[in-house]
Amino acid sequence: MNEKFARIIQDGLWDNNVVFAQMLALCPLLAVTSSATNGLGMGLATTAVLVLSNTIVSSVRHLISPEVRIPVYIVLIATLVTLVDMSLNAWAHELYKVLGLFIALIVVNCAILGRAESFASKNNVLDAALDGLMMGLGFTFALVLIGGVREILGSGTLFANAHLLLGPAFAFLETTLVSDYKGFLLMILPPGGFMAVGLLLAAKRVFDQRREARATTAPVAETSI
């Protein structure tokens, strides 16, 4: 049982990461990762929707005919996103002013439909909720990483305006790495997003290959000693 949970956690965070392994959700990714703070906001909002949608899809999975599952999932997810959007707008308006843009973008996030289809519809509610949480956190990690790279190269800061998203207590996160930086516009614009994603993807591949190579050669090396 514990092994299964560990598998889900590792899949979500690294091995089957939404961005770095599944290459999903690139549209909202390129749009919002011009800064690390934006990436964090989008990631957290997506995580909340992923947990909810996975839980609901998993709990009604026996009722749904395979033939009509896609429209049912889409209707469910679109409703969820709209509900989150409306309640944030009404009861957490300050947060909504920062996240509002991202919430509408979650509807075009194919990762959510992807998890409903490939995981939540085949597993029990607890596993599905955990998968949603881990996939969401993995996505958040990827967004913050890409946003951070673009922000450092593009404007010389990190986590600028974090206090708008997380409250004044988190103002300490805001750092200016290069003072009087003139800015490198290319990294802020969408092409910079593609470059950052591409380079990070290559880095992950190299890292995974090295790890695999070490794992396969290590026992041999041990026996030779």
């Binding site: 749904i64 009509v68 049912v72 209707v75 409703t79």
Partner: protein, 209 residues
């Protein structure tokens, strides 16, 4: 399994789709009713806040309820009037400029003498890092309009420096400041044209204390 057989029937699938649509729309309409009032209140507070930024000083009327509708060629402009003891001291309205990436919506406050009290950009899609210096958080350029009027500087100098005017452009972005300057100038022209209606002091329903 009875459910397994049922799931393959066309009627069940139709009912399932209909049921899902019905349930979700019910949830949405319920949520929409539950949040409607709070959303409107929050949006009003937002508007009030952006109006207050371009209206320094104290006013004793309910700004959001004291409005005039001005018929302009591009449509109707809603102006909010700030009064002290019944006298209209300043008016606030929205002006729109067209920059590099579409509309730039600004609010501007103008005193009864025709002087600018303040200008704020409330919505734009200009290039981050270049055109977004029109936001007060990024640069104090927008404060350069304070205390300007149609006579100060002269109408011909209401342009960016590159075009022979008085206002700075930004390095790498001329279209954005040019659009804002043009929109603010247009706002002052509107004030001149509609002065009588804007400063009309007959009480509006629900506005007077």
């Amino acid at each position: 399994m009875k459910l397994e057989q049922l799931r393959t029937k066309l009627g069940y699938q139709g009912l399932l789709l209909g049921g899902a649509a019905l349930l979700t729309s019910a949830a949405l309409s319920f949520a929409s009713r539950a949040t409607e009032a709070d959303i409107r209140a929050a949006e009003e507070a937002d508007l009030k806040q952006s109006l207050a930024q371009v209206l320094p000083g104290k006013y004793d009327n309910e700004l959001l309820k004291d409005t005039v509708e001005l018929a302009e060629t591009g449509g109707v402009v809603t102006a909010y009037r700030a009064r002290r003891a019944g006298k209209v001291e300043a008016v606030v309205y929205r002006v729109i400029g067209y920059g590099y990436a579409g509309a730039i919506t600004c609010v501007m406050g103008v005193s009864r003498e025709g002087k600018i009290l303040g200008v704020r950009v409330i919505k734009h899609a200009e290039t981050p890092g270049l055109g977004d210096k029109i936001e007060p958080a990024k640069s104090d350029w927008i404060h350069g309009f304070d205390n300007k009027s149609l006579t100060e500087p002269a109408p011909a100098r209401w342009a960016v420096k590159k075009d022979g005017g008085d206002f700075d452009q930004f390095a790498g972005a001329t279209i954005t400041p040019r659009a804002v300057v043009k929109a603010v100038k247009g706002g002052l022209d509107l004030f001149e044209r509609q002065k009588s209606q804007l400063l009309d002091e007959s009480p509006t329903p629900g506005a007077q204390p």
